[in-house]
């Protein structure tokens, strides 16, 4: 290897033989992940797009049905209800969850005992969703602790958390927020560490109160992180499944908590209608893309980047 001494950018300083070999090494290094990507993500993904136009139960002959699956699905009251429920869960849990997380993060920011509190808020994050849902199912029982406390302190008939269709969806939202508030809190805390104390002090000297410090200084400064967390939270609530499968026992009562992913699961593995199930997955994908796209459009107005 004879190094050619040309004092240019580091990438081009490399000897030609090294660069030639790199072309091969690159593919060797990404090889395993590329194989996995083709086999387990892109392949199934494309198959899903194809299956959405077919009628198949996995056993009998596959039949092409064109757009019929989509027409059926979009006219299906169950899918529409799943979409509405999923969007409701997202619209309720994302702002409340992120809002709470932000408040907690600001409250914890300057405390020396911060990590003590964090352990309490973070515990649900490391617990499996199934266990979380199992525990809350018992808390929400009509003879459970929440009802017992409400009955003995407020002297009213306790609500039927999981039996009432509207309350069941609210219960799912409560559990979802409880599970995720700790994670977003630590993410916001990490972001707030980057806000320089001198900026806050200057604003304080100018007479800014706690509320305007939060909304005028801190939130704009960490808005890229808020934006990123919003997208992640939104996408993950579009994928709600574990909670409704366990907490409200198969998306009950009477499909009141049926979500899109539960719908996909039910069509595919409850009824073995792979075509319609795939069509529903494509609809989920579209919904995800459209909502993320909308959020990226909104970002231009609300998100403030350092370089601005």
């Amino acid at each position: 290897m004879t190094p050619r001494l040309a004092p240019v950018a580091p990438a081009t300083r490399r000897p030609a033989a090294w660069r030639r070999r790199d072309r091969r090494w690159g593919w060797v290094f990404v090889g395993p992940q590329v194989i996995g990507m083709l086999l387990f993500i892109l392949g199934p993904f494309l198959a899903s797009l194809v299956l959405a136009f077919a009628s198949w139960d996995g056993l009998t002959e596959l039949k092409w049905v064109g757009w019929a699956n989509f027409a059926d699905q979009l006219g299906d009251e169950l899918l529409l209800r799943s979409i509405v429920n999923t969007l409701l869960i997202a619209v309720i849990t994302v702002p409340i969850g992120l809002g709470l997380s932000l408040l907690i993060a600001v409250a914890l920011q300057n405390l020396r005992t911060r990590s003590l509190y964090l352990v309490l808020f973070f515990a649900p994050v490391v617990t499996s969703t199934v266990a979380v849902a199992m525990i809350w199912q018992q808390l929400f029982r009509s003879d459970g602790v929440l009802s017992s406390v409400i009955a003995s302190t407020l002297h009213i008939d306790p609500p039927d958390w999981l039996g009432d269709p509207h309350l069941a969806l609210i219960s799912v939202c409560i559990v979802t927020i409880w599970m995720s508030v700790g994670l977003n809190t630590v993410i916001f805390l990490a972001g707030l560490q980057g806000v320089s104390p001198s900026v806050l002090e200057a604003a304080q000297l100018d007479g800014a109160g706690p509320w305007s410090l939060l909304t005028r200084i801190r939130m704009p400064l960490i808005s890229p992180i808020i934006f990123f967390s919003t997208i992640v939270a939104f996408i993950s609530s579009l994928q709600t499944f574990d909670t409704v499968f366990v907490l409200t026992s198969d998306a009950g009562p009477d499909n009141a908590t049926r979500t899109i992913v539960y719908h996909i699961y039910d069509l595919g593995f409850g009824r073995f209608e792979f075509g319609p199930s795939s069509a529903a997955s494509v609809i989920l994908l579209m919904l995800t893309l459209v909502i993320t796209g909308l959020q990226f459009t909104a970002q231009k107005r609300f998100v403030h980047y350092e370089s601005d």
């Binding site: 290094f29 395993p32 993500i41 993904f45 198959a47």
Partner: protein, 292 residues
């Protein structure tokens, strides 16, 4: 914080007392909120030690009286919990080990090696993060049927080892933070790419690898939908999947049993969390920030 502390004595004493009061109030509010957060776990434990008659008290009593471990005995013996722990543990271990190797290799290539198609490929890896896993559920299941991997742990382990676009992205970010000089020096010494990766890059990536290991382990351990669809034999079940054997029993009177089963699932995880809290919280914050 330190500067604010230093400024304090200059202020009027009444202002200071007001600040102390506000701080006390803040602690009270946070403590109440924190206790509310862990209340479900506390109630789970208390209920799991109660015998049936106590669950019918009106209003419910707080402490078990008498304390009993019958629920634990029954939960542990009625389903194969020990086996499920073994299953989850080794699925987790292999998935994490595989991901660490393949994702750091790919992340290194995307960060440092110039090869044809690298840019397009990286965009593909970024874009596939947008595809919800559930969208591929049906074809993935059919593929596993073809492979004969349904009702086998291979269907969970092999895909987890081989593909994780987020892990690749995260490792690329970590590699980018390493000083290039390390590799330049090794290259001058005649070290090739392969040896450079294993001897120079990987050891320096240790903090990143630890963070990724925690993220992937939690993800695999808590994974539910795919094991639910792919596994049928109870002896093969993972811990969360096995726990659902107790699901939907909110008609049953003895829910102390359900709480004991939930405790068997959650308590080891919570203990592990308390021991490694700092590292775990930091790792998840890193991943939540997209590796920034």
């Amino acid at each position: 914080m330190a500067t604010l502390e230093g400024v304090a004595p200059v202020r009027a004493t009444s202002g200071r007392r007001g600040r102390d009061l506000r701080k006390l109030l803040l602690h009270l509010v946070l403590l109440a909120a924190g206790l509310a957060m862990v209340f479900p776990f506390v109630w789970m434990l208390l209920t799991s030690f109660k015998a049936l008659p106590q669950l019918l008290d009106e209003p419910l009593s707080f402490l078990p009286n008498p304390w009993t471990i019958d629920n634990y005995v029954q939960a542990w013996t009625s389903v194969p919990f020990g086996q499920a722990y073994l299953n989850s543990a080794y699925i987790c271990l292999l998935s994490v080990a595989g991901t660490l190797v393949t994702a750091s290799m790919a992340g290194y290539a995307f960060a440092r090696i110039e090869f044809r198609g690298a840019k397009v490929l990286f965009v593909v890896f970024l874009a596939t993060q947008m595809i919800p896993k559930q969208v591929t559920l049906i074809p993935f299941y059919l593929l596993m049927t073809k492979f004969g991997w349904v009702d086998s742990h291979l269907s969970l382990i092999v895909p987890a080892m081989l593909v994780n676009p987020f892990a690749v992205f995260l490792m690329r970010q970590f590699v980018l933070t390493l000083p290039r000089e390390l590799e330049e020096a090794a290259r001058v010494d005649g070290c090739g790419r392969w040896r450079m990766f294993w001897r120079i890059v990987l050891p320096n990536l240790r903090p990143g690898l630890a963070a990724l290991a925690i993220i992937v382990a939690l993800d695999v351990w808590n994974n539910f939908l795919f094991p639910l669809v792919l596994l049928n034999t109870p002896d093969l079940f993972t811990v969360p999947l096995l726990l659902t054997s107790f699901r939907g029993q909110f008609g049953t009177i003895n829910y102390g049993l359900v709480m004991a089963a939930s405790a068997i699932d959650t308590i080891p995880m919570l203990i592990a969390f308390v021991i490694g809290q700092r590292k775990i919280i930091d790792s998840l914050a890193t991943s939540g920030l997209g590796g920034r």
